[in-house]
Amino acid sequence: MKLIVAMIRPEKLNDVLRALYKIDVRGFTTSKVEGHGAEAEVVQTYRGTTVKMTLNEKVRLEIGVSESFVEPTVEAIMSAARTGEVGDGKIFVLPLDKVYRIRTGEEDAAAVTPVPLSI
């Protein structure tokens, strides 16, 4: 099992969700985050005050998947979130020790969504 953590452009979230649904990945958590990457800073002015915004808005996706879903999930996110410009984001794949489904107490591969067909 792996935990896939992806930082993507907010305006690409809908595309990424559609790609994930297409490969039957239906269990994930999103959150709005801000971060700094390789992008150039945006300059804003408020009355006489000029500021550069050093943090860019991103959406963070967290998806726990069984081994067979790791590669399709990464590919789905990568192709749906890519624009080719600086600032497309990152995907991190982390080892995952244990998963519990709170409703039933099921564990590990039985607890991720979707449940892999092989078990």
Partner: protein
């Protein structure tokens, strides 16, 4: 002041057999417009709350908006108690008398007996309240210079006393038959017969408030983050909403200052519409050329600047000249805002740059563009053969600046003896909403646990709850 004479003259022709009799016959048209005008000017103070509230950080929005809203109560009551009579009672050259304290002797008749103004055609009671709405907005304007860092009780004490001791006397000088209404005669010589032209309060309201704002800002000191961290407006749509409502209310402020409905009100009304339009165009273009973008905060600021600048001129100038006033005012105000943020003066929401510089520009340009052909009860300005008017305008502004500055200084010193004025750094960091009001503007309620009555006593005793309770200590 003279525009009342205009009304009186008009009435003289219509009701010549009873022109100077008191009370006048009530004009239902005038009364209808002034009822609406009073409500419109009252609306300007909540509008200002949105304008200022959007410009501050989210942790201070309730405090900033309360600074305007509470003025509705404290200044309003003070006005009814003593402010009105000190401003508009006949009195002497410097101050009204106390015949109308607590609105005593203020009747529903169109009766100017005991007042320092010309004949009125609306109920005296309505006139008295209409003037009160001016006192409220003027006092609230000052708050823009001290947002995010002033103890609320000290602020309330300040604006209440300021409205009575600074606004009321100055209103008396300009509108209540005081020194500025007779300034030409007081100087004498070739100035005899001239008086300061201030249709709706460029000097009394805007210059007065702006000078007070600078003095308080200097005495309270800059915010701890000023010029060190980026301090951004937390809700620009609020700023635009505030500007829109201010513009709406300003029709009552300027066109209502005809104290009647009719030709003069129409002139002032149209000028109140066109001057901010012109300022908006100039400001957006300045923004585009200087910054590359027409900013929304700039648009809102431009509307206010145009309104401020046309205020003293509204009933004295032609439509074309009102447009010129709007355009011209954009430049000094724009660059004043650009410059101010680079100084040590934390006039946080630019009361000086918008209301002071705008009010000054408007008052001077009134002395340039005023025309008797627009308002027979007014005076001609520089362009229409009366250069002396410019001197009168300057002297009136100077008197206003000195009086407002000295009185404001003394008042803040006085209040400082009794009440703490500045919160400590920790309180300022947490924000005025929590520390001064015990509330937050944008709270989801997550993590808020209900304290039952039975637990309250114990909670009061615990330091974590008590810490932010008493604003007075």
């Amino acid at each position: 002041m003279m525009r009342k004479t205009f009304t009186t003259l008009a009435l003289f022709f219509v009701f010549s057999h009873m022109a100077w009799a008191n009370p006048q016959e009530i004009s239902s048209g005038d009364t209808a417009w002034m009822l609406l005008s009073a409500a419109l000017v009252l609306l300007m103070t909540p509008a200002l709350a949105f304008f200022y509230g959007g410009l501050v950080r989210s942790k201070n929005v309730l405090n900033t908006m309360s600074m305007s809203f509470s003025a509705l109560g404290f200044v309003g009551v003070a006005w009814i108690a003593v402010g009105y009579t000190m401003a508009f009672g006949a009195g002497n050259l410097f101050l009204g008398d106390f015949n109308f304290a607590f609105f005593n002797n203020v009747t529903t008749a169109a009766d100017n007996t005991g007042l320092g103004v010309g004949a009125i055609t609306i109920p005296h009671l309505l006139f008295a309240l209409y003037q009160g709405t001016f006192a409220i907005i003027t006092a609230a304007l000052i708050s823009g210079a001290v947002v995010e860092r002033m103890k609320f009780p000290a602020y309330i004490a300040f604006i209440t006393l300021w409205a009575v001791l600074v606004y009321a006397p100055m209103a008396h000088w300009v509108w209540g038959g005081g020194i500025m209404a007779k300034i030409g005669d007081l100087i004498g010589g070739s100035f005899a017969g001239l008086f300061a032209l201030d249709f709706a309060g460029g000097t009394v309201v805007h210059i007065n408030a702006a000078v007070a704002a600078v003095v308080v800002a200097l005495m309270v000191g800059p915010r701890k983050d000023y010029a060190k961290k980026a301090i951004l407006p937390h809700n620009v749509p609020f700023v635009l909403l505030g500007a829109a409502l201010l513009w709406l209310g300003w029709f009552g402020f300027n066109a209502g200052s005809a104290w009647a409905s009719g030709e003069l009100a129409a002139v002032a009304f149209v000028n109140t519409a066109v001057a901010p339009m012109a300022t908006l165009v100039a400001w957006n273009l300045l923004d585009i050329f200087k910054k590359g973008h027409a900013t929304a905060v700039g648009t809102a600021t431009a509307i206010v600047v145009g309104l401020v600048a046309v205020t003293p001129a509204a009933g004295f100038v032609s439509t074309f000249n009102a447009i010129l006033i709007g355009v011209i005012a954009a430049f000094p105000c724009y660059f004043a805002i650009e410059y101010r943020v680079r100084t040590k003066l934390d006039d946080s929401l630019d009361v000086l740059a918008a209301h002071g510089v705008g009010g000054f520009t408007g008052a001077i340009l009134t002395g340039v563009f005023a025309q008797k052909t627009v308002n027979a009860a007014g005076l001609d300005g520089l362009l229409y053969g009366n250069p002396a008017q410019l001197v009168i305008q300057f002297v009136a502004i100077l008197v206003a600046i000195v009086f407002s500055a000295v009185m404001t200084y003394l008042l803040v010193k006085l209040i400082g003896l009794v009440l703490p004025i500045r919160p400590n750094e920790k309180e300022e960091g947490l924000g005025m909403d929590i520390t001064q009001h015990g509330e937050e503007a944008y709270t989801s309620g997550e993590g808020a646990i209900l304290v039952l009555d039975s637990e309250l006593q114990a909670a009061e005793a615990s330091a974590s709850v008590r810490e932010f309770r008493p604003v007075l200590t």
